[in-house]
Symmetry: C2
Subunit: 417 residues, 2 copies
């Protein structure tokens, strides 16, 4: 049994039965990082010493000994937190982010910090797709997705404001989860656009995501998943951005649900929801620029893409922002019209496979619609496209129905086999 390919439940069992030790789990991952990460660049800091020390001390808790990576926009007390930016070179905050600390109290062990686009924005890090060094792994949680996909961490924390967890997870062929806005602790997370920001996780499976969610939310450990009651197949107004191969994979997931006896119905976005993309763009620009004021006096030291985001947001006035923010609230209050009798929506997560080039982390629109509505969203791999690269599907639930959503994703994993 290779610990770098195992899921959380397997590692827990192997450790409990003594077939694996916690130090052996950590060492296997550090070895894997040593072998593979030179070519991938998923980690910006490897905390080998503290990880081995914690392993030797004997971790306790529901995630005892599970190694994870932390996106470098989340604070860590004993290692640098640089937000992907030269402006934070060498910065070490005094405490862990709440999300990191909660997982550590549950026994999980931080392997290191994973590469992020600067300030979780658009200036991509130098991280490659694990299967093709000429392609982006997605972003802004680039390193978190690449680390999990390459077997260098059992799971990793990320953050999502637009599509920064689900997009890289889908491109890299792993599972990714963005909880309901606000559900997971936010302390020690760098704010980007706070109306949308959420901490999330990338893991080997939806089963693992459910374990992480349970630890983060003080819930009982997951049991066998409930099947969804009714899947709403929602193509959205962005369906023409989806490639034929990605569309076919969404249809295949719908078919898998239907063959399992689950009702699948078509759900269209209610009238007006097609305006969400434009309202979101304006709110995102204004909020990011406000939070970036912290760096106004040194913004020349940030990357050009970040400087442009700052400049663009300065030109939005509060009246336009407030109008768009109110429109988003109205859409959120109409979420029942969208879901109808369906508890889970099925839709595309990306237009297709990871695109070529490292300058852009890909198109966020298919993911960001759901961040805008503050819904929980999850992706699981469900097929392959060009060059055998993975393609996922996206499931979405109403706000606060996170457990139901994860159950649906776990159910789909079982249907996929």
């Amino acid at each position: 049994m290779d610990p770098t390919q195992a899921d959380i439940a397997t590692l827990r069992t192997e450790i409990a039965t003594g077939r694996l030790t916690i130090p052996a789990v950590i060492e296997a991952h550090l070895d894997r990082i040593a072998v593979r990460d030179g070519a991938i660049g998923a980690f910006v800091h490897v905390a080998a010493d503290s990880a081995l020390k914690e392993a030797a001390a004997g971790a306790q808790g529901r995630l005892a000994g599970i190694p994870f990576g932390v996106k470098d926009v989340l604070d860590t007390a004993n290692m640098p937190t640089e937000h992907g930016s030269a402006l934070y070179s060498g910065h070490v905050p005094p405490f862990d982010a709440g999300s990191v600390a909660r997982l550590r109290r549950a026994g999980a062990i931080v392997l290191g910090k994973t590469a992020t686009a600067e300030f979780a924005g658009t200036a991509a890090p130098a991280t490659c797709h694990p299967m093709d060094s000429g392609r982006t792994p997605g972003g802004s949680s680039s390193g978190s997705a690449a680390a999990v996909a390459a077997g260098m961490a059992t799971f990793a924390l990320g953050t999502q404001t637009g599509g920064s967890v689900l997009r890289p997870a889908a491109f890299c062929g792993v599972a990714g989860f963005k909880p309901t806005h606000g559900a997971w602790p936010v302390s020690g997370m760098l704010p980007a656009a706070h109306g949308f920001d959420a901490v999330g996780a990338i893991a080997r499976s939806a089963d693992d995501l459910a374990e992480i969610h349970a630890a983060m939310m003080h819930l009982p450990s997951p049991v066998a998943p409930d099947a969804p009651l009714s899947i709403g197949l929602c193509r959205t107004h962005l369906w023409d951005t989806v490639s034929d191969e990605a569309a076919a994979i969404v249809e295949a997931a719908a078919t898998a649900f239907a063959r399992a006896g689950i009702v699948v119905v078509e759900r269209n976005l209610p009238p007006g929801f097609e305006d969400l993309t434009a309202h979101r763009r304006l709110v995102n620009a204004f909020e990011r620029a406000g939070n970036m004021e912290s760096w106004a006096v040194v913004i020349d030291g940030a990357r050009p893409e970040s400087q442009e985001v700052f400049a663009r947001g300065q030109n939005v006035d509060g009246a336009a922002y407030s109008t768009s923010a109110a429109a988003l609230d109205t859409a959120r209050s109409r979420i029942g019209e969208l879901f109808g009798g369906s508890d889970v929506l099925l839709t595309a997560v990306t237009p297709g496979v990871a695109p070529e080039g490292l300058a852009s982390t890909g198109d966020p629109r298919l993911q960001e619609l759901w961040s805008t509505l503050r819904c929980p969203a999850v992706t699981v791999p469900f097929g392959a496209g060009i060059a055998g690269l993975p393609i996922g599907v996206q499931l979405v639930a109403r706000p606060w129905a996170d457990v139901r959503l994860l159950d649906a994703a776990r159910h789909l994993e079982r249907l996929r086999g």
Copy 2:
């Protein structure tokens, strides 16, 4: 003209016409702090050197030379940020909070850091009411309210999760504003319960609050205020917590609006809204405990009240939290039922004058109802009670109608004379 008693517009005019210099404004406030703050304890750090240096350099912008205090849960790069806690003793963050930086870019000058309850919670600082050293100034933005009331700063930033801006402002007889949740930048603000947290301001008048809001939101400078269309007198289910003298002052404000020809109607909370207090308590406990995970390993070094908040929140599970959070979202989506045809609600801000003793900062329930709904809320003084201590009233608007709300408060100031 005493600069420590002047509002922003007056200071701007005096500076523009050369009757006052920016260094003279700053020196007058530093002198006032030297004379008065030993007995009050509003400031935990006075940044005399940097304030005088910035003043001498000649500030530019719409708030040029206006001195302000910053609640010590907001980051400042060139002075300590201790969150009212021994856990952050001597901590200096690398950058200013977004809200602080935006005001500084508009020319305002930071005088220092103001006292806060630990982590903006319930462990009160050693700050006295400026009019009676045996009474609380309110909290958790205790120092910000006391500083403005005692003429030690033209205005001060605070934060509000329950009632931490409006309550101390009302107790101290000054104006206080909590914007719509999310409207002002949040970077560099310590998260407490992020579903409710907001940066806000305390100032000498609603006119000044409108100036600060305009600078923070990139809006044109305020002109003469529009009168509200219809005032909804909303006593809420908490009316029996309001003293006779505070109730009479709310009625007097309603009468003042009515005499000015503005429609005043009674508005009752819609059915179910009385449950918001209980749902809020649970959400607040869970979110605070999650964010406090950062300090779990050193929580013994925090104050007992904070340790209790952490322990209480650990006992809330994610299922109960999610249910209550969803109930709050439902109430927010029903805000139209509450406001009806009224654009502004008038209600009590506190049960009465500042209570005796420094251990508690007072009852948050009348303020926190509106934080829970994410509405903007403002208080202006409107009378006096026991021992001549001030009593305010509270005005509330729909989310994102901040300018309309501030106009209503400015209108009420003019009716008060």
